[in-house]
């Protein structure tokens, strides 16, 4: 199998080329499905983050995504964006948009921010505000997205679909198209980072997910052809957590993925490069193969499946298994594509 240029450069650098940087767990909204823990943490200081950005640059990292919680609750966010820009990162920001007021969007763009992801749960402002628990949030998010787009930045609106809002997917696609934003639709709920399964009650059902996916296929904003034609070899790795990207948590802990609670080390005690290069945690992830779950070997929708080891680990303490959510999502994709099912799992 030939490697892409990104993969070859990653091999040469010996480290992931992307970092998801959770700057804070604090948030001013109260979305009930949130996976992020609410307790305050001993956050890395401005100086610690700046030092770490330098270490990431030296290791070969190109992209940094500042997220939270709500990253704008950090007083030093502008300073950190400017520093990341000085160090020549491609910088993404994931925000609820409510703190991006009074010229802040243009300022972020001037300081070097490449793109901004804003979360919207409904095209109906009252429904969105009710869900996130704060009046005015919808208008603030839309204004933030518009202002950043007008300043020349890329904007993506992310919508997590649940049974109550999935029917709005075509309307959300219309809204995004009208404003020039990209639209990302996500159908998977995950347990919280502390392992609380409460958010899973919001997982959309098969009957809701399939039409929502179908709407994206119709508009051409999603294509599953590549996945559908993919034949999984039993030896194929299941996921690339810790390989393509790693996550840095507010207190400096490094995880392979936002939902996989395996500590690779802490940047407060160990330089970034020493944590990510030859990490035993990443080795453990590399060893998760499709054939580890016999049901997946004979499954007729395996090509359409993004089996998630983190969810399996949280549900059964075994990263080599799968969860009903994996099967639900693969099944929904198959149904959205109108694929005949000829074999059961």
């Amino acid at each position: 199998m030939s490697l892409s240029l990104w993969e070859r450069v990653r091999e040469a650098a010996g480290c992931p080329l992307s970092v998801i940087f959770v700057l804070t767990n604090r948030c001013n909204l109260r979305c009930p499905h949130c996976y992020c823990p609410k307790p305050e943490t001993d956050e890395l200081s401005t100086g610690e983050v700046s030092q770490l950005l330098q270490q990431m640059k030296d290791a070969g990292v190109f992209r940094v995504t500042f997220t939270g919680g709500e990253p704008l609750l950090r007083e030093d966010l502008l300073e950190l964006v400017a520093e990341a820009h000085r160090l020549r990162f491609i910088i993404h920001l994931k925000t609820n948009g409510t703190r991006i007021v009074d010229g802040m969007a243009a300022r972020l763009r001037d300081l070097g921010l490449t793109s901004m992801d804003v979360s919207l749960y409904s095209v109906n402002k009252d429904a969105h505000d009710r869900f996130v628990g704060a009046e005015g949030s919808f208008d603030a998010a839309v204004n933030a997205a518009d202002a950043f787009w007008a300043a020349g930045g890329d904007v993506q609106v992310n919508m997590t679909i649940m049974n109550w809002n999935a029917r709005e997917v075509p309307l959300m696609l219309d809204l995004c198209a009208a404003h020039g934003w990209k639209c990302g639709i996500d159908g998977r709920m995950t347990a919280t980072q502390q392992g609380d399964a409460a958010p899973l009650q919001y997982q959309a059902s098969l009957d809701t997910l399939a039409p929502a996916i179908e709407a994206q296929l119709h508009r051409g904003i999603l294509s599953l052809d590549g996945m559908a034609s993919c034949i999984r070899s039993g030896e194929e790795q299941v996921c690339s957590a810790g390989i393509e990207a790693v996550v840095i948590l507010p207190d400096g802990e490094v995880w392979p993925c936002l939902t996989l609670p395996w500590s690779m080390g802490n940047v407060r005690h160990t330089p970034f490069r020493n944590i990510v290069v030859n990490s035993p945690v990443v080795e453990r992830i590399r060893n998760i193969r499709w054939a580890d779950s016999p049901a997946c070997v004979t499954c007729d929708v395996a090509g359409l499946c993004n089996r998630c080891p983190a969810e399996a680990f949280r549900a059964h303490g075994d990263e080599k298994g799968f969860t009903p959510t994996d099967c639900l999502l693969a099944e929904a994709r198959a149904r959205a594509m109108g694929l005949p099912r000829d074999r059961g799992r």
Binding site: V9, A12, A13, F62, G112
Partner: protein, 89 residues
């Protein structure tokens, strides 16, 4: 082009990995790797004029002025076309 100065597009990301310059343009998410000469020229854009870069190339690789000039011009033209390098105002 000789006395002109160029600068690296401030919105692109680049890293030196294994002795070679690797560039990513966030506009199209495309990655490009430069060879040894390209890396050398790229690293000097922004701090040296085209003339100075040509001179350095001549000294380092012991090539004729004309050949060095052609290589630097062609490289910079490609970089400008790709939006990776911009003329200094």
């Amino acid at each position: 082009m000789e006395n002109m100065r160029y600068e690296i597009n401030p919105r692109i990301a680049y890293r030196k990995i294994d002795g070679r310059m690797v560039i990513v343009n966030p506009q199209n998410d495309e990655m490009m790797t430069l060879n040894e000469t390209g890396s050398l020229i790229f690293e000097r854009i922004g701090t040296m004029s085209v003339d100075a870069i040509v001179n350095e190339l001549r000294n380092l690789f012991e090539v004729e002025a004309f050949q060095a000039q052609q290589e630097v011009d062609a490289f910079i033209r490609t970089m400008v076309d790709e939006g990776l390098v911009v003329p200094c105002p």
